[in-house]
Amino acid sequence: MGNDALSAEQATLERVDYPAVQASPEFQKLRRSHRSFVFPVLGACLVWYLAYVLLAVYAHDFMSTRVFGSVNVAMILGLAQVVTTFAVTMWYVSFANRKLDPVAENLREEIERGEFEKAGAAGTAAVDGAEETTR
């Protein structure tokens, strides 16, 4: 039973005009907002991490400065790495939930409804749509 539904869906997907989806303004917006978040944020995190590694290796005296009690700068910066990792994780999740998921879901539904079928295959879209809802 699961197989029938799957193959019907497969058939719909085979007729999807992917270049048309790719060129659509909605998809371009999704791609842009994904990349313009992911690349700069990851870049910044890697730079921050490398700075920490280089400080640990080459700025020994600075890292050994005691801040309070025996806790030194190295430990504070190490824990700061953990904190920023957690913070970026939560930031990305909230960004993805707000900005990426709604657009992606919308597009997926449009594609699965057959709105991006290749020319000449439009007639069967309704059948597949019905199949989709009964599944």
Partner: protein, 538 residues
């Protein structure tokens, strides 16, 4: 202080108690594996657990897969003996997850089915790319496996009081046989449950010990540090540089290691495969978030446990104990809670090795059966059930290879083997993963050059590095043979940029173009989740 020396000269605790606690763990997980395995019919069930796990479950399993013996025993020991430099491992291992979260997890879940090669060969030429990806997968898994099996041997000498080589080999064989059984019967579902249980036990165990240690110092971290300095007799253990600050070469070596750690995680095949066990990309994202929290909290514990071991057990006692640095965490457990806590922590350490080994084995088996047997040899035309049958046979072969390799590698440096696996993964896999997801122009030639170039350069540099020859602490254990022309012990700083460069060069020089339709399909699918593999229904 007399207690310390007793603990160092013989095996602390009660070997039979240790065995009994470990036996209980095996019995409970076996029952769960049997129950979980009732629906293991199709390839999706066997490799991807029917894609039925939730983000939280999978995140815990990822933590269980990732926090290997090297993380627990290795890092605690490294902090106890070499001080702050050990903690740098923790940070690298954690920050690395941002690469997986931001670049890889969701896109991979949307475009692949079972293995890393599914994604890499999506829009390139199937045959050569799949073969290359399967080879890098098998090599990375092999080195990672070897590290875990070698760790098992070392652990035994301390925990069970088995010090002769034959006894240790026997224990490695038992660990290997158990692992084969889990994977053979349980498939990905069974493996996942073992990893979840292990992750809970490991993090809870480390948490209890952390609170206990802090409580002994009135929850004042600073006075714990003071005590560690006093026992070690060396205030430098609080500062970076004790191990890696020695010379200019060792400093560059550390930067190289840091690079391999942070870029390796998102390219480890057994980590990537875990993203297929959830129903959607959103759940894949949730898994990484769970994993980051669990792993991050655990690594903060390692800081307390490491200095705790330095303060309460003492670096000299740890270094003299059988298993050396690896025994820091178990000795600290003995110091805190006597034989019972030692038994519990030891059982958890064994469970750790078992769970990681099972995850690696199923990844390697899936890669061979799905990428090489089904896609390349049979060209995608396999009989129903044949692929899973081949996967199960591969599990047996890998199990035997791991046991033999583990016996051979017994006594080798565990951290070196793991760092090697990270460096190879970052060099051989990461450039191709990133290029094929984000660079439209990328071609088959670029992928092949990058994967083989990264793999071969990493391995060749390791062979000619000080870890293999030239000193008594090297693999060859003698100063007589010395072909260490390459001065660094981690090749990452050379091989990772080289692999990225080769991927670019191969693509630019490639006169052919890849199918633009496939590129469109991959990009649309990776971002929207259209046509992504769904959870199987039973």
């Amino acid at each position: 202080m007399t207690l310390h020396f007793e603990a160092a000269t013989t095996s602390p605790g009660e070997p039979w108690l240790n065995i009994a606690i470990f036996g209980a763990f095996v019995a409970i997980t076996m029952v769960i594996v049997f129950r979980a395995s009732r629906n293991n019919k199709t390839a999706a069930d066997y490799y991807a657990a029917g894609r039925s796990f939730t983000g939280g479950q999978n995140g815990s399993a990822i933590a269980g897969d990732y926090l290997s013996a090297a993380s627990f025993l290795g890092i605690v020991g490294a902090i106890a003996i070499t001080g702050y430099d050990g903690f740098l491992y923790s940070i690298g291992f954690l920050v690395a997850w941002l690469v997986a979260l931001l670049l890889v997890a969701e896109l991979l879940r949307n475009t692949g089915r079972y293995t890393m090669a599914d994604v890499l060969s999506f829009r390139l030429k199937q045959r050569p790319v799949r073969i290359a990806a399967a080879i890098t997968t098998l090599v990375v898994c092999f080195f990672y496996l070897l590290a875990q099996m070698a760790g098992a041997g070392g652990l035994v000498s301390l925990l069970l009081g088995v010090s002769d080589l034959l006894g240790q080999s026997l224990v490695i064989t038992v660990v290997g046989a158990l692992m084969i059984l889990y994977v053979l019967i349980g498939g990905m579902k069974g493996t996942t449950w073992v990893q979840i249980i292990k992750a809970v036990l490991l993090i809870a165990g480390a948490g209890v010990m952390t609170v206990w240690v802090l409580a002994m110092y009135g929850f004042n971290f600073s006075s714990l540090l003071d005590s560690a300095v006093e026992v070690a007799g060396n205030p430098a253990i609080l500062d970076p540089g004790l191990k890696y600050g020695v010379s200019d070469i060792s400093k560059i070596d550390f930067v190289s290691l840091g690079l391999a750690l942070v870029l390796g995680t998102a390219a480890l095949p057994h980590v990537l495969m875990r993203f297929y066990t959830v129903p959607t990309a959103k759940e894949a994202r949730k898994s990484v978030v769970w994993a980051i929290w669990l792993i991050g909290i655990f690594y903060v514990f390692t800081l307390v446990l490491g200095y705790g071991a330095a303060a309460l057990v003492g670096p000299e006692v740890i270094a003299a104990a059988p298993g050396a640095a690896n025994s820091a965490a178990p000795l600290l457990a003995f110091e805190l809670g006597g034989p019972l806590l030692l038994g519990l922590i030891s059982a958890i350490a064994f469970a750790t090795i078992l769970a990681v080994v099972a995850g690696l084995t199923i990844t390697a088996a899936a890669s061979f059966a799905h990428d090489i047997y089904a896609s390349v040899i049979k060209k995608g035309k396999t009989e129903p059930g044949a692929e899973v049958k081949v996967a199960r046979r591969t599990v047996l072969v890998i199990g035997v290879v791991a046991i033999l390799g583990g016996i051979g590698a017994n006594g080798q440096n565990v951290a070196f083997l793991v760092a090697l696996a990270f460096a190879i993964a970052a060099s051989a896999n990461l450039p191709t993963i990133v290029y094929s997801l984000f660079w439209k122009r990328f071609t088959t030639k670029g992928a092949i050059w990058s994967m083989y170039g990264g793999l071969i350069s990493a391995i060749v540099l390791i062979i000619f590095s000080p870890v293999v020859s030239g000193s008594v602490t090297s693999m060859l254990k003698t100063e007589e043979i010395d072909f260490a022309i390459f001065p660094l012990s981690n090749p990452g700083i050379v091989s990772i940029p080289l692999a990225f460069f080769l991927g670019w060069l191969g693509t630019v020089l490639d006169k052919g173009k890849e199918d633009p339709l496939k590129q469109s399909e991959m990009e649309v699918r990776s971002l929207t989740g259209v046509g992504a593999e769904k959870a199987t229904q039973h």
